[in-house]
Symmetry: C2
Subunit: 435 residues, 2 copies
């Protein structure tokens, strides 16, 4: 049974009748204490905790599956749509990949304590920067139990305590996973409050978390646009957020059309519902007549609906006319907006106007234009001759990610371990004073 | 005469009768356009602009002095206190150092466009990060005309447009400086709106700027606590801010007492009103009886009032008993809180409780404890055997600074050129697709 205002891992579980503000305050205080201990914990201990968590997730496989089945049953009863049910479901394959993910994070280098360089200054002091944890990370996410494991493992490895508040539909799954996380922490004597799974289904608790600026150092919302917007406007602490992924592929006049065809097709069709999927194809008019019919055939075979500008529709009779709104839409489905542009400048202007600063690619063999595109497109990932689908923490070698930040400050692009740290200045002297 | 709702550098100055929201919107749009051009501008052009600005500041020296004299006269009439008058005044020496500052920024390496490394991934793509400008920086500051020059030069060098809103008492000085900035930009054909000096004395404009999240990428407030708090709570965009500087020096049992005396004395007395001045001295009890009388004498000579714990008062009869509040106070004056602590752990706990995460130092010859202090004190600067007064952009080799950030995200410590940039991912491929 789920009791109101209780969190697993709270050393002294708060009164079931306690009010929400003091409940959240208690959770934050306990997390802060745990964060201080985690910041001091060495790499080997953190890795042993992660390995123990992976083992627990395997051992309690059936328990997690049962909890998830119950969540699924309740969600179906409440009429959740298929897309949400799909996110909620923990198939055996997904459970396996959760375990795999934890082990991959254990294998990543520990960013904490690293000092990149120590430079000697004219005064005689040596100045460097040391990577340290942020402290307490709050994660507010939809009903997607895999996030519980990913977020906990990333925060643990980077020495941060984490407060996890997943969607209410996934509560049983999250609690089952939370028991594995705590069992793993307990095995190596790390504080259980390093990971708090908020077990209170009351949605008002999200509002309380957003106001807890003294207890949570940074908040990461993961979910649909309305959640992100609520968190962005109400959170009193810094937020790492991911807005839309309206990603472009621009095929330049200097493109190799075989590469263009392969990349554009992959960027759209490899997966439709991911944030780094191409939503709009821009084609330089010099190559449009050659490229579009080839690509059009392939998209037609893949049943991708094409919405194009006038010139596109002339070249591709199967395309329907695109509206202004189509260029500003993250379809997340087999629909593609297409536009023929005069040149790179027109492509840059289009991306500037309609893009979401997420991921954009140029296909060209022309070095000057490739460099201009790299420099001038103000997106978190900018690619030359590669599919937008590569914009991903694993593909970039960062390991698992806590999301993709479309903001410019602090973390930009995939939020991996390094984004969960800050760099403080360290100074080594031998008694220097300032004159 | 100052007209309402006019800004120098607005290509088409807005209607004097225009409402504030649309005025600010116009300023932001123009700044965004300028920012795009600045982002593309090469290093040589930016440096020529800075040199031209320095020349203009020299040439229009008398014009700036007159404008400042008028600001000073009006401020005296309005009964501004001495501390504020001191900040407002542009002495010949300060004017000189403004020019010097601009030239130093011109001499710094340009961070924009730098790609730190390109790593080849198993898929064949090469992944790196490129430093790019943030876009439009807003700076809201008190009546301190030197900030106008520093901020404009730092933003220009880092390829950002800047919107400057200084205190109303410094309006004439800022406008005179603004004319130099624009003359310098004009000489090298850079857009004037790269720097906007808001010339509207209406304080309501600050509120409008705080709501302009679509036009301003990051806001930097510089000033007293009330300004910082207003900006932190009302700003809709990310903020780089500097709260209190309650800085500690902890003299460890393993300290060299000569170094301890020199560093502690310097950290307090070299300047009283700076944010990196020591406000609290912590002394391990093992060395308190030896160190405190020596230091006490010197502080007495310098007329520093000592407020100590019980043991301090026993060792230093001239000290008065400290209250809890004294340990939580940024005195910015010749007052020092002193406390004898059992050991490093007690010192860490004290700093954790009373510190402001700004700058803290340990004096010790013991390597283990030095490393623990470096790692565990969660402040923007942590020093071993050096004065807290070194926590400064110039001393760290960053050049001028736009302030010192006590936040953990993005910029921590002195906010130099690098803090005014973001890093986006760049990917070079040869037609790779994701499988």
């Amino acid at each position: 049974m789920i009791t109101t205002a209780s969190a697993i891992g709270v050393a002294q579980a708060p009164d079931p009748g306690a009010d929400l503000p003091s409940y959240v305050d208690g959770v934050c205080r306990a997390a802060c204490t745990a964060a201080r201990e985690l910041a001091r914990t060495d790499t080997a201990t953190k890795n042993r905790a992660l390995e123990a968590i992976a083992t627990q997730l395997l051992k309690r496989h059936a328990e997690i599956a049962c909890a998830n089945a119950e969540d699924m049953r309740a969600a179906r009863e409440h009429g959740l749509n298929e897309a949400l049910l799909d996110r909620l479901e923990l198939t055996p394959k997904r459970q396996e990949s959760m375990v795999q993910g934890v082990r991959e994070i254990a294998a990543l280098p520990d960013p904490i304590g690293e000092i990149l360089e120590l430079r000697r200054r004219p005064s005689g002091i040596q100045v460097g920067r040391m990577r340290v944890p942020l402290g307490v990370i709050g994660v507010i996410y939809e009903s997607r139990p895999g996030v519980t494991v990913d977020a906990a493992a990333l925060c643990l490895k980077s020495g941060n305590a984490v407060i996890l508040r997943g969607g209410t539909e996934s509560l049983r799954s999250n609690l089952a996973i939370g028991r594995c996380l705590h069992a793993g922490l307990a095995e190596v004597d790390l504080p259980l409050m390093a990971v708090t799974v908020i077990a209170d289904p009351d949605r008002a608790i999200v509002g309380e978390l957003l106001r807890a600026q003294d207890g949570i150092d940074v908040l990461v919302p993961r979910g649909g646009r309305s959640l992100i917007e609520k968190v962005s406007s109400e959170a009193r602490m810094p937020v790492l957020r991911h807005l839309d992924g309206i990603c472009h592929v621009y095929v330049d006049a200097g493109a190799d059309l075989d590469k263009a065809e392969a990349v554009a097709y992959n960027a759209k069709t490899q997966r439709y519902a991911t944030c780094n999927t191409m939503e709009c194809l821009l084609v330089a008019e010099a190559v449009a007549a050659k490229l579009l019919p080839r690509l059009g055939r392939r998209f037609l075979e893949a049943r991708v609906e094409l919405r194009g500008c006038e010139r596109t529709c002339t070249l591709l009779p199967e395309a329907v006319p695109a509206t202004e709104q189509d260029y500003a839409t993250e379809f997340l489905s087999p629909i593609l907006a297409v536009r023929v542009v005069a040149d790179l400048d027109e492509a840059l202007a289009h991306i500037e106007r309609f893009g979401s600063a997420h991921t954009d690619a140029i296909i060209t063999e022309n070095l000057d234009r490739a460099l201009r595109f790299l420099r001038e497109v103000d997106s978190s990932s900018v690619l030359v001759n590669a599919s937008t689908r590569f914009a991903d923490g694993c593909e970039y070698g960062l390991g698992a990610e806590l999301g993709i930040s479309t903001d410019k400050l602090h973390a930009r692009g995939p939020v991996g371990l390094e984004s969960l740290t800050s760099q403080k200045f360290v100074v080594l002297g031998t008694g220097q004073v300032r004159t």
